[in-house]
Symmetry: D2
């Protein structure tokens, strides 16, 4: 058994990490820090964790050195003390956006300021096993993934590997996103009365996750738009492309089957009928699965690539634990093989 | 006062038409037919109509000849008896898809079968005043509009008039749609437990409303995708374009201001801050307004055009009454000038 | 035309008051104050008010003396400056809880501290026309109503007038309430992700509105519980009573018909079939109606009285304007006679 | 390993049973029947079951004799062929309402017709371990539980054991219920547009589950009302009682602690602050837990007992598997010890 501590465990990603660690066969939860909640019970913040022996948040300074440290801090907090954090554990996973990009220049372009610890950018591996498995395996430092980036990446990767989408292709990634993406902090625009039933274009252009997609896919022209909709969880990528090739359903099935063949968490959803013909995050609640699919319009030369994930799982905590499994030499799906909840 | 009858008044569009007619200064509701509900009270089907003297559904055969007849029947029903219907009133508005397209060939391409009464296609005017006002004015036969088409059209028209989008431009219209688009009939996939919190790609390619957009805009390459989300009302068009021109905010403001200058129901929403920076159907509930806006990314040469409507109003019943006002020489906004409901 | 100003117009009740005043035949909106938002446009806070000439919030000190002043301030703010406010207008309506109770002792019992201006308690009339019409008519100072109290009062009043419920009867008022009851301020527990799909017992005992019910009804044993549910608007009172009398449907119909006979906004909903057999706030969105009904179980001697309202309308702004109409000698339903929105 | 088959696996309870059996350490899913869906994949009906080897529905006649048969058929279907079903397996659990009541007379009173196989009523044990553990253990035939009954029973049992509530006490059980209680079949009143944001009194009096509560608790005066609210899962019981005794928080804590001491799935939720002071089904999604609590108003002599469950789990499939564990001599919480999903 390896022990895991979480720095910054008051948010939704922290809550999911604890659920996953509690259910993991070879991990033990050691400490969870929150400066604001230190001394309070975990289950008062995370009501799904009420069972078992009550456990309390601690101060950061009370996290002892251990096997693995996962940082679930707000963006910008991990980088400030990265030397401290990396001294606290053999392996570190940072779920924030601080170490996702390889290039300090791209970081500055998208985040609007210089990276505080640029030397560390190259030392962190981007924690999306589907694109980066061999580098995550045995890595000491792994970065988490952006949820919208992950949905887009998983929609695009099969087409890129098949050569259908090339570095110069323009792709439009239109993402629908649930309210948990905004985190747990109180905002007026996030109040139920304001947020219920919205179709709110919160980032029609300029979303930072586009940088992650361009890095992972090698594409130069990723156009991302995010619309907040009424769901708590879920990121749904509708990725629009125009293709020159003459495709057909059979070849597309082949391309997608090749892609998922050895992937424990990526599945094809492409049915001819019924309500679940295409990927939908609603069917994935609480799981680490990413469902991918497509819709092809031969007349228009148009291929729409689809990917659905649970933003807190495959888009955050789930990919982190999947990466942790690779880092530690565990089965890649250890502690992540459960079935989702339907309906909800 | 002119009298209006409604054929096929059991659905949501029918219910909205009654609300609008009841509140209209120069219209009186005469008869509402429903073969299935004849003899039952309107308010048993449409609970918002409970006030005032109770009124009943009648059989179609009991609709007397009158000034105006609005058809709110399922697609395919109006066309079957169009000679009968046009004999029942001086002016006829058909809210279904039966008479929206000018070309029988395009109809066949999108609907999969020959049009039953092709001669009538040219006699109906497409009832979107923002594109077709001069033809709707004084017309005898007007067709309703598709809700997703209307959101897309209103997003695109300012850019087309300004020459930014041209007939050969590829545009991707990614629509988010509420559950009332599916109508009131019972389906398993529409049950609350199945439909709550979905991000369901119900038409990633091949949606029929693309034909309406190409007809109205003159564009040749309209790529439409529809995703069902958890809202009862609303159609939100995120229309993605790449533009060659060198635009700026000032010129875009000018383009949009020109477009809305004489439009009673189209408004610009383009704020620098706050939760309501961009159009959102949630802010339009129950109104005939269409809010339009944009987001421009100079670096990427990318312009995202946005439009939000209430699908049952500007996308159906509201545009029908707006057209009726034009047909009858009333003020264009007669009976439609009320304020929406916030929050809800 | 009389002019109306609103002190404290940043919240949901303020937004509804503006909508109602804009649509009122004999009222003109003069000034709306908000210390925080002074200088900003009304529609930036209240997106449904975007149409027409843009108007701005002002500071309180910039509200000129006028005909009517409506206070939509947080609880406790009106009472602090009541002398100032009552000097600003001929007639004053306070929507807060500051002047709802007649007795300083009861106020202290429920609010936990002495009333700051007890002399004013007797000068304010409780603004529920259905119980207090003759005192509201021509009053200078009228208090708004509690939303949960109003649903409970309107459920109970028919039974009290008929002698079925007497001062010593124990009644249990189990209220289901929407999120707009909590107002617009940012709280963690009110965030969409936390508040969606809840059934949250936020006041199983001890809710302050019980005091209003006991005052209005004269009952001594009103037991109120409030459960927050997933709706933006609505207060639904399920009022449980045990009755000794031998009742039947005919006599109950008579009792309810007598009660609503002269009420412009109270309606009976008691159908034998269909989805709308009983009152439901969903059918009342944006209206001033209160729907009342009952369910009687002869075997158990049990009578459940039901009442549904839109908490921001009949439970706040709507009753305020209805009271204003009475105070000013207008038609009681002036500006309030519109139809609601269905579905939503 | 014991094998389990499910008769009638197309509904939500069937889907949950499969999830639980798949995750159970000593159970294997053998066959799942559905006359309508035979030959189709399980995951086409139950999208959360997409992983692993695809499995198909079979016809009832193709269910082989095995260790355990769970009936998840519509009410009235199990009883018709109970001799057949009980011949198919060593142990049978029926999730319907057919065998919940001991008395044919009570059955007739609540269900309106004679029981078809009254001899079997006494052979089935009521499958609520918290009230009936010793009879469920080693039983061959166990009946499932009603979800609303279970929430009410678990709210009341601690108070009954402590003598605070006695057989003659009048208790009012006001239940809030999610849409999954209505099952998966298509109805107009269950469509998303009709069902979203409702507070619908679908059974203000006369709900059948009251019979189950009176049977389990021994009370004579259980007054139940059910209100449908906008949630997919959840049954929340607000149980109103008036008590003569002089209680205090300490004694109540003692009573509740005694009750849950040996219960693996019942937990006390009674916090002094925060959003989660009281039980709320939202915190229990997908779990077999029942959270219970109370609110006591000494002045009014009023005790409100609260219980929250996931209606498809503790209110159906979860209690069934918990009973199965007892019947088979497994650990009572085998396969049920996972953590819920938060937020959702």
């Amino acid at each position: 058994m390896l022990n895991v501590s979480i720095a910054g465990g008051s948010g939704y990603v922290g809550g999911e990490l604890m659920r996953l660690i509690d259910g993991h066969p070879t991990l033990t939860l050691k400490s969870v820090s929150s400066e604001r909640l230190a001394g309070r019970f975990l289950h008062q913040q995370h009501p799904h964790l009420r069972s078992g022996e009550p456990r309390k948040f601690v101060k950061m300074e009370d996290i002892d050195k251990g096997d693995i440290l996962i940082l679930a801090l707000p963006h910008g907090e991990a980088v400030k003390n990265i030397d401290l954090f990396t001294g606290l554990a053999e392996r570190v996973i940072d779920c924030s956006a601080d170490f996702r990009l390889d290039s300090p220049d791209v970081y500055k372009e998208y985040y609007g300021h210089d990276h505080v610890a640029p030397d560390w950018l190259q030392r962190f591996r981007y924690g999306l096993p589907e694109s980066n498995r061999k580098y995550v395996r045995d890595a000491r430092y792994v970065s988490g993934v952006g949820c919208n980036a992950t949905a887009t990446n998983l929609a695009l990767l099969p087409l890129i590997r098949a050569g259908i989408v090339t570095p110069t292709t323009h792709v439009v990634a239109d993402i629908k996103a649930g309210s948990s993406e905004s985190g747990k902090s109180a905002t007026t625009s996030g109040q139920h009365a304001e947020r219920a039933q919205v179709m709110r274009s919160y980032a029609p252009t300029g979303h930072r996750h586009a940088a992650e997609v361009e890095q992972v896919t090698g594409l130069n022209n990723v156009h991302m738009s995010i619309t907040a909709v009424d769901a708590v969880r879920g990121a749904m990528a509708t990725v629009h492309t125009l293709v020159d090739l003459d495709l057909d359903e059979r070849s597309l099935w082949g391309i997608y089957r090749d892609f998922v063949a050895d992937e424990p968490f990526v599945r094809i959803v492409h049915e001819r009928g019924g309500a679940h013909r295409h990927p939908d995050p609603k069917t994935l609640l609480g799981t680490n699965f990413a469902d991918i699919g497509w819709s092809y319009d031969k007349n228009k030369g148009r291929l729409v690539a689809l990917a659905a994930i649970d933003n807190l799982m495959k888009g955050a905590a789930g990919s982190a634990i999947q990466s942790l499994n690779l880092m530690c030499g565990f089965e890649e799906d250890a502690g992540l093989g459960f079935t989702g909840i339907w309906p909800h």
